[in-house]
C-alpha cells in the first residue's frame, strides 16, 4: 500500500463551497413534499470490510428514514401508501420478478436437500 502515489495538493476551499452552495440552495420555504429529503441523525461507523454489518447499517438508515418520511407525509396530509387496487408499471417486469421468485425457490429447495 505504501507504493500508492498520493495526490500532492489538497484543496478544501470551504468559503468558496459555502458561497456556491448558497447560489444553488433550494428555497428554504419549500414544503418538505417538494424534495422528500430526510437526514439520518447518525453516522455510519462500521468496519467497511464487514459486509453483513455494513449492509445492516445502511438498512437501518433506510428504515429510519422511511419511517420519518411517513410521519412527515402524514403531517402534511400527503399520500404515502399505495392503495392495494392501484396498479401501474413497475421498474422490474413481471418476468424478471418471476425469475427472482424461481431463484428463491431453487435456493430453498437446495437448502432442504442439503439438510
Amino acid at each position: 500500500a505504501d507504493a500508492m502515489p498520493r495526490q500532492k495538493v489538497e484543496i478544501d476551499n470551504k468559503i468558496a463551497m459555502e458561497r456556491i452552495r448558497a447560489t444553488i440552495a433550494l428555497d428554504p420555504s419549500l414544503p418538505w413534499t417538494e424534495t422528500l429529503t430526510v437526514t439520518y441523525p447518525e453516522t455510519i461507523n462500521v468496519d467497511v470490510e464487514d459486509d453483513l454489518n455494513r449492509e445492516l447499517a445502511f438498512y437501518k438508515q433506510a428504515l429510519h428514514s422511511a419511517q420519518t418520511a411517513r410521519s412527515f407525509a402524514q403531517k402534511a396530509n400527503f399520500p404515502f401508501t399505495r392503495p392495494a387496487d392501484y396498479f401501474a408499471e413497475m421498474v422490474k417486469s413481471d418476468s424478471h420478478m418471476e425469475r427472482i421468485r424461481q431463484r428463491l425457490l431453487d435456493e430453498s429447495a437446495g437448502m432442504k436437500r442439503a439438510e
Partner: protein
C-alpha cells in the same frame, strides 16, 4: 367570504430536470446502471453518447437545449473505469466522482420492486453535514436524485427510499423498497420493513469545480488514487515478487 383578492402568491416549486448521458466506451454494466437510474428517476432525460471526451464544455449548452438544469455525465475510461460528473448547469458547481462496485437491478439477489416513476425518499446520513464538500454534495444530489412532484411520469405514492451514506471516505448508494405490511401477518399491526431493489454503487469524490464542467477547483480529495495507479502498483508488487525470487 372570498379573501383572495391580492396578487396570487406563487407556490414555491422544486423544478429539476436532469440530462443524463455518457461518453463512448461504456461497457454493459455501466449501460445497465444508467438504464436503472433512468427507470428510477422520471425527471431524467437521456441523451445519446457524447462524441469526444475533450468537449465537456458542450454539456451545459446541451442541457439547456433539453430544458435541463442538471447534468449527470458518465465518463468511461479504458473500458473499465467509470467516472460520474454531477453538475448544476449552466453555472456549476460540478462534482467528479469515481464509480465502483456497481450492481444493477438485473441481479436476481435483489428481490425488491417499486412503481416505475414513483418518487423515492432521499436519505443522507449525518456525515454529509459535517464537511463543506459533504453539504455541497448533498445539495447537488438532492436536486439530481430527488424526483420533483410535477415530473411528467411521477406516481402519487411513495414506495422506495434511496440512501446515501458516507463510509470510508466514500459515498455508498442503496435503494430499498418500503413494505408497510408484514406479508406473514396481513391483518397484524403494520410493521415497516425493506427489501433491496438496486442498483448499488460506491462513489469516491475526486474533485469539485466551481463551474459547470469548468472553473476553479474548490475541493480535491487527497486520498483519491486513480484506478490505473492502483493497478500498476499491484503489477509492480507482483513484478517485485518475481525479481526477489530470481536474485
Amino acid at each position: 367570504i372570498d379573501q383572495d383578492h391580492g396578487p396570487v402568491m406563487k407556490k414555491p416549486r422544486n423544478k429539476q430536470r436532469v440530462l443524463m448521458l455518457s461518453s463512448r466506451g461504456i461497457n454493459h454494466r455501466m449501460r445497465h446502471l444508467m438504464n436503472d437510474l433512468e427507470a428510477l428517476l422520471p425527471h431524467v432525460k437521456k441523451d445519446s453518447k457524447l462524441d469526444s471526451k475533450n468537449h465537456l464544455h458542450l454539456l451545459p449548452e446541451l442541457a439547456d437545449l433539453n430544458n435541463c438544469n442538471n447534468t449527470l455525465y458518465f465518463e468511461a475510461r479504458r473500458h473499465e473505469d467509470l467516472y460520474m460528473w454531477a453538475a448544476k448547469t449552466p453555472n456549476g458547481p460540478s462534482i467528479k466522482l469515481h464509480v465502483q462496485n456497481i450492481h444493477t437491478m438485473d441481479e436476481l439477489k435483489m428481490t425488491g420492486n417499486c412503481l416505475k416513476g414513483s418518487r423515492g425518499i432521499l436519505s443522507f446520513d449525518k456525515a454529509f453535514d459535517e464537511s463543506e464538500w459533504g453539504k455541497l454534495t448533498k445539495e447537488v444530489f438532492t436536486h439530481i436524485f430527488g424526483v420533483p412532484p410535477q415530473a411528467r411520469k411521477a406516481k402519487p405514492f411513495i414506495d422506495h427510499v434511496l440512501t446515501f451514506s458516507i463510509l470510508d471516505s466514500k459515498i455508498w448508494f442503496r435503494n430499498f423498497q418500503i413494505i408497510e405490511k408484514d406479508p406473514l401477518q396481513p391483518n397484524g399491526p403494520p410493521q415497516m420493513s425493506l427489501t433491496e431493489i438496486g442498483p448499488r454503487f460506491v462513489l469516491t469524490p475526486i474533485r469539485i469545480f466551481e463551474g459547470a464542467f469548468s472553473g476553479a477547483t474548490v475541493y480535491s480529495n487527497p486520498e483519491f488514487v486513480t484506478p490505473a495507479a492502483v493497478r500498476s502498483a499491484l503489477k509492480r508488487e507482483k513484478g517485485d515478487k518475481y525479481g526477489n525470487r530470481k536474485h
